[in-house]
């Protein structure tokens, strides 16, 4: 069964067309990366997949409509806007998102993403990197079959990004979680992803990294300034 099937997706805000006739599919158990320049509609694609915005076309997740599949999706947003003066601890926030999650499972997730030492901190007092780890943990607390990560490693240094992608690879191989992530780090996704979806309001490419990540595609997406250096 396909983990995700997007057919003829169109999204417009007023007269501004943000996504035009996007179609692609993800097999269960893959790591797929969406790449594209700023304003290319990557986050809008995620918001449509989650049912957060109106769209035309068809989106099916594990064969189900979005609403039915929502409990199977873990989501880490690019920006998490909230009132930083709100006194809520990391531990409370995580438990509020999944009150029925068993303690050993919760502890394993917190250990995996290294938030176990942050549990008693207020989320308003976390650094950017710490908050990102907490947001990954809340996505994993749902025990998802499909994980949507919107620029999960932005703001982390190269070593941190490498460790993060290794964690994603671990979740994918060990827990069979299908992962769809947005990234600017073409070099990393080349190494870790099974499938690349290139977006610039339209679908520019869709396939295995070795097939689609070439100079021609990158020029189409980013112009001639982008070079591919593998880490």
């Amino acid at each position: 069964m396909k983990a995700l099937s997007v057919k003829n997706l169109n999204v417009a805000f007023g007269r501004n067309v943000v996504l035009e006739d996007i179609s692609f599919e993800l097999d269960s158990g893959v790591i797929a990366a969406v790449i594209g320049p700023n304003g290319s509609g990557k986050s809008t694609l995620f918001r449509a997949i989650l049912g957060l915005i109106p769209y035309a076309g068809e989106i099916k997740i594990f064969g189900d409509p979005i609403k039915a599949a929502l409990p199977r999706i873990g989501y880490m947003p690019q920006h998490f806007d909230f009132d930083r003066t709100m006194p809520i601890t990391v531990s409370e926030f995580l438990s509020f998102t999944a009150p029925r999650l068993r303690k050993p499972k919760a502890e394993t997730i917190c250990g995996d993403v290294q938030v176990d030492t942050l549990k008693h901190k207020l989320i308003g007092e976390l650094s950017g990197g710490q908050l990102q780890r907490v947001m990954i943990a809340q996505a994993l607390y749902k025990n998802p079959d499909l994980l949507l990560l919107d620029e999960p490693s932005s703001g982390i240094d190269i070593e941190g990004a490498k460790a993060f992608y290794e964690l994603i690879e671990h979740l994918n191989t060990k827990h069979k979680v299908t992962v769809l992530l947005i990234s600017h780090e073409v070099n990393f996704v080349h190494r870790f992803a099974d499938q690349i979806i290139c977006l610039n309001r339209k679908l520019i490419c869709d396939g295995a990294p070795a097939e689609v990540l070439n100079r021609e595609t990158l020029n189409k997406l980013y112009g001639s300034r982008m070079n591919l250096h593998l880490h």
Partner: protein
Amino acid sequence: MLELLNYPFMQRALIAGVLLGSLLALMGIFVVLRRMSFMSDGIAHASLSGVAAGLLLGANPLLTAIGFAAVFAIIIALLERRTKLSSDAIIGLVFTSGMALGIVLLSFSAGYRPELTSYLFGDILSLHWNELALMAVLGVTIAIFILARYRQLALFILNQETAYVHGVHIELFRILLYVGVAVAVVLGMKLLGIILVSALLIIPVTTAKLLANSFRVLMMLSVLVADIAVIAGLFISAAFDLPPGATIILCGMALFILAALGRKIVFKGLM
């Protein structure tokens, strides 16, 4: 001073005060953290039309005010969702037109209406047992909803997108929260009056935020601050013949100042 407890009016006032103080403090957490203070104030003022309709029709003004306030809350929630008007503008429209309707309705009622003053400025000492029963039923129902759903409500006010992904029905929670605030505000009118009722939504949680190190502690401290302010305010007002509503608010403010000073001293000591 404890002999005041022998009087039934004081017993009713204390029971109602603690009940409403706890309810408004719990609601206040979501009002303050979601920055809905103007909305609660607007609903309180707009519900004058409900009070006026009750007085004009010879019905219980508390009941008609609850009905009107709930309708206003639903109108605000729907207009916020379905129009491009800003939330402030929508609340301003409902606030002023509700009050205007109240003034027009009151103009049809001949003569001086002393009950009206009790709704404008609060008069907890004149509370009847049947009004207390109504407050208890509605107040406890709303409090049970909050305590049963505080996790979802906390996620809702923290970040709606995240709440939605974790299964919170955003539209339903928005309407339930607005209606809950509206009903709590109208119930609180008898204690503090239309003009001052928002104070018990704002002061306890603002005080508790200074001291709380978690959401659960915030909830407990907010209720504690509200109840201390209500009990102290009622006894002081009875002892010195002061207006109870205003005295309760001044007691709340005193607790806020104490908490702010205490926090400053503790932080200075740690540095």
